[in-house]
């Protein structure tokens, strides 16, 4: 009976999700008919403050927030605060980086980081290489979301929906609306998601302490008296997650989150640079919500003691299924499932875009005029969009198969992705403000950084000397890049600085795009 109620609630909301995701595509049909890649990948660069806020909050508040955050709170305690710290710091940085990338992409008609890199260094193959590398980093993320959704769905249906069916459901639903609606579909679904997430977490934040502990005072007193180890660094048996780890992880992740391909997709979807600045003010407020799963994870220490390893990721849902009626469990499950679906949608979209534009697009470039220099709208853009949609299905399928045949624990995977993606920060951000950085230097630096990350992570030496290996690798990366720039080969690039670098806040009027490029170029080098 309970299973039927919860499953029905879940099914109804999933139908609503699919409807929203599919209807989003019709939103702009009435006005301008844009069917090209820019419409699909970055929502035609037309999303306002509200949509950008829900979309970017939607992307960052993933199933990890429900499962991993509660699980880390349960197992380790304080170290979980790194999530809140890096997202806050990263969102603050986004105030500068967001508008910068937006303006650059808009001026040159670019749709993602691979595109930006290819344009900056004038090397389409470099965009291809970055696309391949980023795909490797992002695929585990899709798998992470599929796994997360599967676990949630099977738990809230009281086992009525099996893990494997839940995996497939997440994949099928997400793929369908991404292929049809692109970024705009994700933004629409994000609205439903954020409403549910805010409502359910707000409710749980009040309900759980009252239900189990006579309120917050009693809960916190018990926590301080009985579990003090959880409440300061390095946390409870966290295996080296001390202050040094927290500091280094927060720094490197906050730099990475601003160039993470999915974040950039959100940036590029914005209507204007000012939308992003306004958004950067409001977005960090969302992080306050992250304290809720952390607190609930800790509360679970008293209610369901003895969860170990991956089991602890279910800390929050053990409380929920234990204390709430089936329909409420269903609604909370929907919020958590959408927290998988929205990020998964954007991850797939980004992988599709990178391939359509920088892998297949670059390969056929030059000869047929569909390369990265071709406009993103028009027939070439439509061809790239079709490739992108195909890749979405392929990438989703691959991630689904990985989930069935090579499952792993949640957090480690995302740390590898992050530390790897961090190595693209100099190539992208330093490259956009510093003309002297050559492609050889950027590539050498990234290669050195990636090598160090892989060595440290796969040999089990991360954190290395108590410091996040990604930050050490980033330091090496920058050192190598500076050295190669200084002593390495130098080719003449005849393009003016304004064509190559990010000139922040340049708003050429419609139709002036070509001439606008050179304006204000000379003194933009900082």
């Amino acid at each position: 009976m309970k299973a039927t109620v919860a499953t029905s609630v879940f099914a109804a909301f999933m139908a609503l999700t699919l409807a929203l995701g599919l209807l989003a595509v019709r939103a702009r049909r009435g006005g301008r008919r844009e069917r090209g890649l820019a419409e699909w990948s970055v929502g035609g660069r037309s999303l306002g403050t509200v949509f950008i806020w829900v979309l970017m909050a939607g992307e960052s508040y993933t199933s990890f927030s429900y499962l991993g955050a509660a699980g880390w709170g349960y197992r380790f305690g304080a170290p979980v605060l790194y999530v809140i710290a890096y997202m806050s710091c990263g969102y603050a940085l986004g105030y500068v980086v967001g508008p910068m990338l937006w303006a650059y992409a808009r001026r040159h008609g670019l749709v993602g980081i691979t595109d930006i890199v290819a344009h900056r260094y004038g090397r389409p193959w470099l965009g291809t290489a970055v696309a391949l590398f980023a795909t490797v980093c992002l695929l585990p993320y899709i798998q992470l979301q599929i796994t997360g959704m599967g676990v949630v769905v099977s738990t809230i249906s009281y086992g009525a929906i099996s893990l494997h069916w839940a995996y497939f459901l997440g994949f099928a639903l997400t793929t369908t609306f991404v292929v049809v609606s692109g970024l705009r579909g994700s933004a629409w679904v994000s609205v439903l998601k954020d409403v549910l997430v805010i409502a359910t977490l707000g409710f749980l934040a009040v309900y759980v302490p009252l239900h189990y502990f006579d309120g917050y005072g009693a809960f916190l007193d018990r926590m301080v008296a009985e579990k003090p180890q959880w409440l300061t660094f390095p946390g409870h048996e966290s295996g080296g997650l001390g202050q040094g780890w927290f500091l280094s992880t927060t720094v490197v992740n906050s730099l990475t989150v601003v160039i993470f391909p999915t974040t950039v997709a959100g940036y590029l979807g914005a209507r204007s640079a000012d939308t992003l600045r306004r958004n950067a003010v409001y977005l960090p407020a969302y992080n306050v919500l992250l304290f809720v799963p952390v607190a609930l994870g800790m509360a679970a220490l008293f209610v369901v003691p003895g969860l170990t390893g991956a089991q602890s990721d279910l800390a929050l849902f053990k409380l929920v299924t234990d204390s709430l009626p089936a329909w409420a469990v269903g609604v909370i499950g929907v919020a958590a499932a959408l927290s998988s679906i929205v990020p998964m949608a954007v991850f797939m979209l980004v992988i599709g875009t990178m391939w359509g534009r920088s892998v297949f697009g670059a390969r056929s470039g030059g000869r047929t005029g569909t390369g990265p220099e071709a406009p993103v709208d028009g027939p070439a853009g439509q061809r790239q969009k079709r490739w992108s949609q195909l890749v979405v299905v392929a990438a989703g399928t691959l991630a689904l198969l990985l989930t069935y045949f090579a499952p792993q624990t949640l957090v480690r995977l995302s740390l590898i992705s992050y530390e790897g993606m961090a190595q693209l920060v100099p190539m992208l951000l330093l490259g956009l403000v510093w003309r002297r950085l050559t492609w050889q230097a950027a590539v050498a630096g990234a290669a050195a950084g990636i090598t160090l990350v892989c060595t440290a992570v796969f040999s089990g030496h991360d954190p290395l000397w108590g410091v996040n290996a990604g930050l050490l690798a980033l330091a090496l990366n920058v050192a190598v890049a500076l050295t190669v720039t200084r002593f390495g080969p130098r080719e003449r690039d005849e393009r003016p600085d304004g064509e190559v670098l990010a000139v922040e806040d340049e708003f050429p009027r419609v139709g002036e795009r070509e001439q606008g490029d050179a304006v204000g170029a000379t003194d933009a080098v900082s």
Partner: protein, 77 residues
């Protein structure tokens, strides 16, 4: 933001000291950590570290707002 005069000085090249506010989260979350990594005193029952982190989280939108206010005052929009 579209009313910017074409041909004027590119705003990106101006000094924007208000952007230093964006470092405030780093100061609160990271630089202060050795001082705040402690259980007591508890504030409203919250262990001190968690109270501090909550404070830093709430302060972050404020810091970005201050940076933006600085930009707006310089006509940077």
């Amino acid at each position: 933001m579209r009313n910017q005069t074409p041909g004027g000085a590119p705003p990106g090249s101006r000094k924007r000291p208000a952007l230093l506010w964006l470092l405030l989260p780093y100061v609160l979350f990271l630089a202060a950590l050795p001082l705040v990594n402690r259980l007591t005193p508890t504030v409203f029952g919250l262990p001190f570290l968690f109270f501090w982190m909550l404070l830093a989280t709430v302060a972050t939108p404020g810091a970005v707002w201050l940076a933006r206010r600085g930009d707006l005052r310089r006509g940077h929009r």
